[in-house]
């Protein structure tokens, strides 16, 4: 690790619990680099997570951090943001945490367009509880609860975020790290609800179940299967099956929740 980045970590909490080849460290590193590039005041940042392998990340990060319950990070974060609007609130969550048990909080945070940045560590599986399929496990993929292949249709989390009202939406992967850092930077600078889906690797469960047991193979899969938003526009639905579309999907402005909230207080108090 670069010496200059050490201040962002709780060095005494390392080594981390993640398996060798896990993508969680890359996503966490990308977040730290984005914060460093933007020279944000680290004492004005609050990082909130749910429960899962990915949600362990804030435990290693030297910021104001809050580890909450499974699926609820966004609800806690909403409370923090309303109580302390001056803080930059970042939510780190897993695909299960965000889209299964916490799916309701996710769509409502999008809908409100509250100024929170959410980074979804998407390893396509419940890593922590040993590899059950999640709402983001691709159709046909294998999981401990789907030994003959998953028949549940998966969410496209970026489309979901867009449809639900988020105003910055991007997808990157742990293979395309400089780009991932860029997306996180843009999300952090965005006013409103921003979502970065970081497609990650879980060699231990997703990999082993899907004949991608080595971390290198999983990285190669990310490299070979990713297509940019631009390229995807010219591809047919069939050509896009099993592809990971990466890039920015949405970057628009819309009234932000906390600001609207403050405005209505002022109006109600006759200050306008």
């Amino acid at each position: 690790m670069r010496k200059s980045l050490e201040k962002y970590y709780r060095i005494d909490k390392l080594p981390h619990i993640w398996c060798p080849g896990c993508g969680n460290g890359i996503v966490t590193g990308a977040l730290v680099r984005a914060i460093d590039n933007l020279k944000l005041n680290k004492d004005k940042i609050c990082i909130v997570s749910g429960i899962g392998c990915s949600s362990r990340a804030p435990g290693y990060l030297n910021f104001n951090t809050l580890h909450t319950t499974h699926g609820r990070a966004l609800a806690f974060a909403t409370g923090i943001k309303l109580a302390r609007p001056e803080l930059k609130v970042i939510v780190l969550t897993g695909d299960g945490d965000c889209a299964a048990i916490g799916g309701n909080h996710f769509i409502h945070a999008c809908r409100r367009n509250i100024d929170i940045t959410t980074i979804v560590f998407n390893n396509n599986i419940y890593g922590m509880t040993s590899g059950q399929y999640s709402p983001l496990t691709p159709l046909g993929a294998y999981a401990t609860t789907a030994p003959y292949g998953n028949i549940d249709r998966n969410f496209d989390l970026c489309k979901l975020a867009e449809a639900a009202g988020a105003t910055y939406v991007a997808r990157g992967t742990v293979y395309h790290v400089p780009q991932l850092i860029k997306f996180i930077e843009k999300a952090l600078q965005h006013k409103g609800f921003s979502v970065v889906e970081a497609v990650s690797t879980c060699p231990t469960y997703f990999g082993r179940k899907n004949k991608l047991a080595s971390p290198v193979k999983m990285m190669e899969m990310l490299r070979d299967n990713s297509v940019t938003v631009k390229a995807a526009e010219k591809m047919s639905k069939e050509e896009l099956t099993n592809k990971i579309v990466i890039g920015e999907f949405l970057d628009v402005n819309a009234p932000e929740y906390v600001e609207e909230y403050m405005k209505i207080i002022k109006r109600a108090q006759g200050e306008e």
């Binding site: 429960i51 580890h67 319950t69 299964a100 419940y126 922590m128 040993s130 059950q132 399929y133 401990t144």
Partner: protein, 393 residues
């Protein structure tokens, strides 16, 4: 036919579920329960059971789906631990009040926060007033046996209530144990086919469930639940006797271990009962008349049996693996002291909170408890009513 096998508690429960072959299982993973449902889902995938398995998106949905299935006349199950049970809280009350015989294993784990994954009974105790029957299991054998009996208890026409089958997280769920399993046919004959009384989508008898219930009838319905709980006491005993015929193991509401002539006794649930019995044996060899009472059924609370079992004892220690924060001791302590009050014979009852968040209960701890009880018996004096075992100062 009976076979001796080596299984973990989770494997034993999954095995029982396979033999019961329920119509619907809905679940969400959580440590240390995950394995039960995961193993069971492989039985489903391999066609070894006829069950519809639903991998829902949370425990709230798991119990809700089980309620839906049971309301439709199906034999439905789920399983969980800790936070999962806490999230189910709302709908467990619905299952009980709708009188749906859902059987669900709970692998006991401490509630957050702080977050912890190890054993204590705070999860189960959080639902002791929900109207579900609560069975506790000392080891994998009892967890297996309780699961099979739970189906009959839950579905009995005089009961019709959900049954929660508890076992200790990791200690029982993950440790390999030797137990005797029955053959599939014996289990299937024992549990029989579920014949619901009323159910949805019965074209000849359309009904509605979960209706609004104001001050005119709500109270009566709650009272009926109490009656069902009362009836359950007898039914649990009957089912236990019948189970003895197929297994050779008889179950009642409590297990009274060397209590007949005991001077001092420990009351404790689940796996720690094994530890306590071991210590009692050692003390008996030294001439101390020690005994152990293990409630197998915690809800309904077996008051009469407990009073009978403890009436001759001079000093009793209730060991609770959960706090109430009442500042007056643990949950079972309150129940036991209340039960003994009517005897009016001045049994000294003290409380020990132990093992929160998976803290080990060591033989020395239980020896200390018995030593304290002996002192209380000899001096007739209690210095401290509620104590904490194995806690740092």
């Amino acid at each position: 036919m009976k076979t001796k096998v080596a299984l973990t508690g989770n494997e034993a429960v999954a095995q029982a579920m396979k033999q019961i072959n329920p119509d619907v299982v809905a679940a969400y993973p959580i440590t240390p329960q995950t394995e039960i449902v995961q193993i069971f889902s492989s039985f489903v995938a391999n066609g070894e059971v006829d069950t519809e398995f639903i991998a829902v998106e949370s425990e709230h949905s798991a119990m809700s789906a089980a309620i839906g299935a049971a309301a439709g006349g199906a034999r439905a199950m789920t399983a969980t631990s800790s936070q999962g049970l806490a999230l189910m809280f709302e709908v467990v009350y619905i299952a009980a009040s709708m009188r749906l015989p859902i059987v669900f294993p709970v692998v006991n784990r401490a509630l957050s926060g702080p977050i912890n994954i190890h054993c204590d009974h705070s999860d189960a105790m959080g639902l002791r007033d929900s109207g579900v029957i609560q069975l506790f299991s000392e080891n994998a054998q009892e967890a297996y046996d309780n699961m099979i009996q739970a189906v009959r208890i839950a579905e009995h026409p005089d009961v019709r209530l959900p049954v929660m089958v508890n076992m200790d997280g990791f200690i029982t769920s993950h440790a390999m144990d030797v137990l005797e399993v029955l053959d599939d046919e014996t289990v299937r004959n024992f549990v029989g086919t579920y014949v619901p009384e009323d159910y949805l989508l019965d074209a000849k008898n359309p009904i509605s469930m979960g209706n609004f219930d104001m001050y005119d009838f709500y109270f009566e319905h709650k009272r009926q639940q109490v009656e069902a709980m009362k009836a359950a006491r007898e039914i649990i005993k009957e089912v236990g006797k019948e189970f003895a015929k197929i297994s050779g193991r008889e179950y009642g509401l409590i297990e009274a271990y060397k209590l007949d002539d005991a001077d001092v006794a420990v009351v404790v649930l689940n796996s720690a009962a094994g530890t306590a019995k071991g210590v009692a044996d050692e003390l008996r060899a030294k001439g101390i008349r020690a005994g152990v009472l293990k409630p197998r059924v915690y809800r309904p609370f077996p008051q009469d049996e407990i009073r009978e079992a403890l009436k001759g004892v001079k000093a009793v220690a209730v060991m609770d693996r959960a706090e109430t924060f009442s500042t007056c001791g643990g949950p079972m302590f309150a129940d036991i002291r209340n039960t003994l009050y009517d005897l009016k014979n001045d049994i000294k009852v003290v409380n020990y909170i132990y093992g929160l968040g998976g803290r080990d209960l060591r033989l020395e701890h239980v020896e200390q408890v018995f030593e304290d009880l002996e002192n209380i018996r000899k001096t007739g004096r209690v210095d401290e009513t509620v104590k904490y075992l194995g806690l740092r100062d």
